[in-house]
């Protein structure tokens, strides 16, 4: 594996790793790791470092919604212009152009049911290019960004194996 990809894989699993820790793990000088990470940040390959939170375990239970949006592509701009318009709303967490029965997949996270309803009916649906929307709410998260959400973190192995 290339060192750059190795660094990305390590950070994707644990963004709290320091450059010094990574340097030891992948057997490269710490300066090189720092420089690589800086380059990855500058070139927008690493876009940020966020905590992965299981909101369901917190007292307030917000929802995650996946909104399918069918749109009319615009002359010379295709889907980009409308996609950028939708992305400009701070509520939008992800926005992808899709193949298949609809065009844009928009996700909204950590919002209340009412906020999602208001957002779809007042911000997305009225846009001229939007033909229709379909909103799905996530009922339970089993795995997110490669991490399984599970309470069982017991090590099933024996206490000591020689």
């Amino acid at each position: 594996m290339k060192k750059r990809e190795e660094i990305l894989n390590l950070l994707e699993r644990n963004a709290k790793l320091t450059a010094a820790e990574i340097a030891v793990m992948i057997d490269r000088p710490v300066e090189e790791v720092e420089a690589t990470i800086a380059l990855l940040e500058d070139s927008n390959i690493i876009l940020g470092y966020k905590a992965l939170i299981n909101w369901e375990k917190t007292a307030d239970v917000p929802v995650t919604a996946l909104i399918e949006v069918r749109v009319t592509p615009q002359r010379d701009q295709g889907f980009d212009s409308i996609a950028q318009r939708i992305c400009s709303f701070p509520q939008v967490k992800d926005c992808y152009l899709m193949s298949g029965g609809f065009d844009l997949m928009v996700t909204i996270e950590d919002a209340s049911l009412k906020e999602v309803a208001t957002f779809v009916s007042e911000k997305i649906a009225p846009l001229d290019a939007v033909v229709s929307t379909g909103t799905h709410f996530i009922l339970k998260k089993y795995k997110m960004n490669g991490t399984e959400f599970s309470d069982k973190d017991d090590d099933l192995r024996e206490a000591v194996v020689l």
Binding site: M1, E6, L10, R13, N14, E21, V24, M25, I26, D27, D154, D155, R157, E158, A159, V160, V161, L162
Partner: protein, 393 residues
């Protein structure tokens, strides 16, 4: 009626474990502690290998296999040994599929050791060798491998241990518990000592796939004149994270494999059918998984070695298996005291080195078959603990 009077002499010859108290403590605290005390992969068997086992069960393959193992699996093992280690074995009469590498160790020792025969065992080492030799009535002759030699067996040590009564030499490299490996030139030097001797070699190569650059695994069976006096034991537990499936194998000259198979046939009948089907999938499609796991172990290995050194412990660089074996003598504690105190004060379990032979005293075995998160936490605690222990001296 005292039932102890009914126990056989050979079963009574096996001494109780040197670290019984530590075992009890670790078992009591299981669940509250970070375990770096486990000699098996933390990875679950890769899903496509598991699926091969599931499919086998769904198809109703629930019967005995041929004693020696399915021929398809033995052929795949033959290809694998050639491909990975440049060793040639005939699938029909030079390979037996066993219930883990452990059974193969017992089979060979029982097949060749007579009461009074000497068996040379370099220590520290896996705990089963000595016990199997004692059960067979043999005499274990241990050789202490030393930290200053990076825990490798030196040819002159081997030479000095040979006597006219030596029947078998056991080599367990990459080594549990030290992580030591033997490079090609070092294996050749041992072969030079053994080539003209009338002795056999048991080469336990269970950790062969877990050899880290710049080292590479070289089997003593590949050295000139050694193939026909060596039985190579390998398996799926460590390389493919398949410990619970209990599946391993032995490769060697026909006469020895035939004798081993005879014992296997009466003691075990055959290895589990489901596990053999999964093992076949592992050999056919599983090598990418081995590479991914090896890379992950290697990152952890580098981190743990550095962390031990940062904590103030002398630690040679192990290039095999998934263990680090630092020297804890600067703390002034025995291995057992170190591990018991570390466990109760810092809630991290590691294994006293003397569990693997007297010469392991003064060392501890840290297994990095654990998640990186747990390793990071455990190494912080090790640093704090060693810092305190050395200051208190």
């Amino acid at each position: 009626m005292n039932l102890n009077d009914f126990l056989s002499d050979s079963s009574k010859r096996i001494p109780p474990s040197a670290i019984r108290r530590f075992f009890d403590l670790a078992n009591e605290m299981k669940g509250e502690v970070i375990s770096l005390s486990i000699g098996e992969p933390d990875f679950v068997t890769p899903i496509d290998i598991r699926e091969a086992g599931i499919l086998s069960l769904e198809q109703g393959n629930t019967h005995y296999s041929p004693n020696q193992g399915f021929i398809e699996l033995r052929e795949a093992i033959s290809d694998y040994m050639q491909r990975r280690f440049q060793l040639q074995y005939n699938a029909s009469h030079e390979i037996v599929v066993t219930v883990g590498g452990s059974e193969a160790i017992d089979l060979l020792i029982r097949a060749v050791v007579n009461p009074g025969d000497e068996v040379i065992i370099p220590e520290p080492c896996f705990v089963a060798y000595k016990a199997c030799v004692l059960l067979a009535g043999g005499i274990p002759i241990t050789i202490p491998c030393r930290q200053e030699d990076d825990f490798k067996l030196r040819p002159e040590q081997l030479q000095a241990a040979l006597t006219p009564r030596t029947k078998l030499v056991v080599l367990g490299f990459p080594n549990n518990p030290t992580g030591a490996v033997l490079e090609k030139s070092e294996v050749e030097a041992l072969a030079e000592v053994l080539r003209n001797q009338s002795v056999l070699v048991l080469s336990d190569e269970l950790y062969a796939e877990l050899t880290y650059e710049p080292a590479s695994h070289y089997s003593i069976a590949a050295a000139a004149g050694m193939r026909d006096k060596t039985v190579v034991i390998n398996g799926f537990s460590k390389a493919f994270a398949m410990t619970g499936w209990r599946i391993g194998f032995a490769c060697g000259p026909q006469e020895l494999i035939a004798a081993m198979n005879k014992i296997h046939q009466y003691a075990i009948m055959s290895s589990p059918t489901t596990a053999q089907e999964a093992a076949l999938a592992a050999l056919r499609n599983g090598e990418n998984h081995v590479i991914v796991m090896r890379e992950e172990y290697n990152r952890r290995r580098r981190y743990v070695v550095q962390a031990c050194r940062d904590a103030g412990l002398d630690c040679f660089e192990p290039l095999g298996a998934f263990y680090v074996f630092p020297d804890i003598r600067p703390t002034g504690m025995t291995s057992s005291a170190f591990c018991e105190t570390f466990l109760s004060e810092e809630k991290v379990a590691i294994v006293p080195g003397n569990a693997f032979g007297d010469c392991g005293e003064g060392f501890v075995r840290i297994s990095y078959a654990a998640s990186m998160d747990n390793i990071l936490k455990a190494m912080q605690r090790l640093k704090a603990f060693v810092g305190r222990s050395i200051q208190h001296d």
